[in-house]
């Protein structure tokens, strides 16, 4: 069991804080952001390697979920994103999936399912990273002519 590192992004401060508390209690490294821009700032500061999965609310004032997703995928393509949607924004979630989100969850979501998806996403991200490292190693060895 890996220990994924999570960033929760939602404009509902109370929601984010409680969710983070519960994640932390389960030994997950979780941090919070209250808007799209804040999330991007946090990712830029901590670096992609430190965050595995972003839980992202679709509907937010200012930069909305889809915009934030696009920005994250542009700067940190490896980070997996799970979209959180209200009922009426499922279509936005589907749109998000098409643009590279890992999965989506409907609010209010079951915590165990969330945990399961977070783990799957984290595993996928780690595997990706491993493959990239492998590829890099191969590339370096090829250059050196080993």
């Amino acid at each position: 069991m890996i220990e994924p590192s999570i960033l929760v992004v939602d404009d509902e401060v109370q929601f984010v804080e409680t969710l983070v508390k519960r994640l932390v209690k389960r030994g997950v490294k979780a941090s919070s952001a209250f808007s799209g821009q804040e999330a991007l700032d946090a990712l830029a500061a901590s670096g992609a390697t430190r965050t595995d999965v972003v839980v992202l609310d679709v509907k937010m004032p200012g930069m909305d979920g889809l915009e934030t997703l696009a920005a994250i995928k542009e700067k940190h393509p490896l980070i997996e994103v799970i979209m959180l949607t209200g009922h009426a924004t499922v279509e936005s979630a589907i749109e998000g999936m098409k643009r590279g989100a890992f999965d989506y969850l409907m609010k209010p979501c079951d915590f165990d399912i969330l945990m399961a998806k977070l783990n799957q996403a984290a595993v996928k991200k780690r595997e990706h990273e491993a493959k990239i490292l492998e590829a890099r190693a191969t590339l370096i060895s090829l250059r050196r002519g080993d």
Partner: protein, 577 residues
């Protein structure tokens, strides 16, 4: 809808339809009546001339009969006078034989026969009276008879005291002039004329030019009245047959017909009431009028029944239309709610999600080996508080939604625009938050109320604000809602800093089903419904737009002056001067 309103809306078209249909029926009947009247008049004229012709024919025939009767009797007497010598003519026995022959032949027309000498003495006589040797030298007819070869006298009573007339013819025997004289029975002669009867009132009689009756008229006749007096005095020129219109003794319109007899010395008169003569025409007129009446009454009755049915149908159609309009408004309102629903579902989901998380968090804490630690208890307390807070938030949202989702109430009331603005803006806050739209309000304090349905005005404003928010694209903008007084009007303005409406679309935006939104996202009814509602409230709506600058919708309502004593004057109809 109140009962008084419903009866008003039902009776209004019925009365209108009934008068229209009745009018139409009368218009259709009028030519029928006119044509009928013309036909009848024409027929009357034709029939009148036919009646006149028949009268002429009949009178002419009878005048010929009368004339020939007299001529025949005269020639009988002349033949007798010519054929026989004096000794026979002066023999009473011979005269008696001849008389009985004549009476046999002519059914008693001849009363007696006599021979009168130039001195006027009747020297021979045969007949029922004892008139031998009677002296006629002073009789009225004698002089005339001596002057002319043969004569026919007027009717007179004479020596015997009963009406009769005399036929004489001269016979010259041996230089002596004798007169053979025959008396014609008045009854026989009278029967010739009296039997001329047509209808109930037609009768004939003969008068002399001196105005003496020669036969008995069947009804009373006054010869000193028009037209008889005119004829007798020669004021009316007489043809072979003369027909004159006039009035009889009782003042009834009558036809008078005259034909001269005996070379104009007598007149055959015929008189008949016009109504009697033209009885057939009158019957026909009555039949035609009766038919027309029946047809007219029938047509009117049918038209009334039809109009009633039509009115009922119109009322039903009217009612249907009202229901339809109401449904369209309702549909539009539901569409507005649908637009809101996306935002509101999210808004409800958020607090629900928090509550679920907090509950989960409490669960987590209870799983601790030492759940009752001070730290945990404080955290549980906070979580419970949070659940309560979020529950309140849900309640607020549902209340807001319910206040709008309740059934449209079209009843007109006193409405303060500012309250509705606050309500609608509260409702759209979620939508504006996600669309990065700032809503600014400039509400005039103490704004006069208007007369309208609050739910309908709410819908107008919601539609306008929704449109304004939709018009604003990223990165956002401002919607300004303004209320103010302008003279006698209360003005509501919704202004956005959005993309604006192209000139080509500006004229069509109030048309039903006109929309620029993608299929499935806009009904195209919003603004047309606004237009309808504003018109209904006696207001007006207008739009100004500039591409990339924004759009301003201006709605103007007439100001409602509340009655000064609202509590004591429940009718609220009177207006303050």
């Amino acid at each position: 809808m109140t009962s008084s309103e419903s009866t008003a809306s039902r009776s209004y078209p019925e009365g209108r339809v009934r008068s229209a249909v009745t009018g139409l029926t009368l218009i259709v009947l009028a030519p029928l009546v006119i044509a009928g009247a013309i036909n009848l008049h024409h027929f009357q004229r034709v029939y009148r001339s036919k009646v006149e012709n028949e009268l002429r024919g009949m009178i002419e025939r009878h005048s010929l009969i009368v004339d020939s009767f007299i001529d025949d009797r005269l020639s009988d007497v002349r033949v007798i006078a010519r054929e026989h010598p004096l000794d026979r003519l002066s023999d009473p026995l011979f005269l008696r034989r001849v008389l009985s022959l004549l009476r046999e032949e002519y059914h008693g027309a001849f009363v007696d026969l006599g021979l009168v000498n130039a001195e006027g003495i009747q020297i021979a006589y045969a007949g029922p009276f004892n008139l031998e040797m009677a002296d006629y030298s002073s009789a009225a007819w004698f002089e005339e008879a001596m002057a002319s070869e043969s004569t026919v006298s007027d009717v007179f009573a004479g020596l015997r005291g009963s009406p009769h007339f005399i036929i004489t013819t001269q016979r010259l025997i041996g230089g002596e002039l004798y007169l053979l004289k025959a008396t014609i029975d008045f009854e026989a002669f009278n029967a010739l004329v009296e039997n001329i009867r047509i209808g109930h009132t037609g009768f004939a009689f003969i008068i002399s030019r001196d105005g003496e009756f020669q036969t008995n008229p069947h009804f009373e006749v006054a010869l000193n009245r028009s037209p008889y007096i005119d004829v007798l005095e020669g004021e009316t020129r007489l043809d072979r047959i003369t027909v004159i219109d006039g009035e009889d003794l009782l003042g009834r319109k009558s036809i008078f017909t005259f034909a001269p007899l005996k070379q104009g010395r007598w007149l055959l008169c015929y008189q008949q009431e016009l109504a009697d003569a033209t009885e057939e025409v009158r019957q026909m007129s009555r039949l035609a009028i009766a038919t027309l009446l029946v047809v007219s009454i029938g047509a009117l009755a049918i038209s009334l029944v039809m109009s009633k049915k039509l009115a009922v149908r119109l009322a039903a159609a009217d009612h249907e239309r009202t229901v339809m309009t109401h449904q369209v408004i309702e549909t539009g309102r539901l569409a507005s709610i649908g637009e809101l629903a996306a935002g509101i579902a999210h808004e409800i989901n958020n607090p629900v999600a928090i509550m679920v998380q907090e509950a989960g968090w409490i669960d987590d804490l209870l799983q601790d080996p030492n759940p009752a630690s001070e730290e945990n208890l404080a955290e549980i307390e906070r979580a419970v508080g949070q659940i309560r807070t979020q529950g309140d938030r849900c309640k607020d949202i549902t209340y807001k939604l319910l206040s709008f989702a309740r059934k449209t109430d079209p009843s007109v009331r006193q409405v303060v625009l500012n309250d509705i603005v606050e309500e609608v803006i509260g409702l759209t806050s979620q939508k504006t938050r996600y669309a990065n739209v700032h809503i600014a309000t400039e509400l005039e304090t103490g704004l006069a109320p208007i007369q309208a349905s609050p739910t309908e005005i709410q819908q107008v404003l919601l539609n306008l604000v929704n449109n304004a928010i939709d018009a604003i694209e990223r990165p956002g903008g401002t919607v300004t809602v303004t209320t103010r007084s302008e003279g006698d009007a209360v003005v509501l303005e919704v202004q956005d800093t959005g993309k604006g409406i192209p000139e080509a679309n500006l004229a069509r935006i109030f048309d039903p089903f006109f929309t620029t939104k993608p299929v499935g996202q806009g009904t195209g009814l919003g603004l047309s419904i606004c237009y309808g509602i504003v018109e209904k409230a006696a207001g007006s709506i207008s739009v100004e737009s500039e591409i990339e600058q924004g759009t301003t919708f201006t709605v103007s309502f007439p100001r409602h002056n509340p009655p000064g004593s609202c509590s004591t004057d429940p009718s609220g109809e009177r207006e303050n001067p």
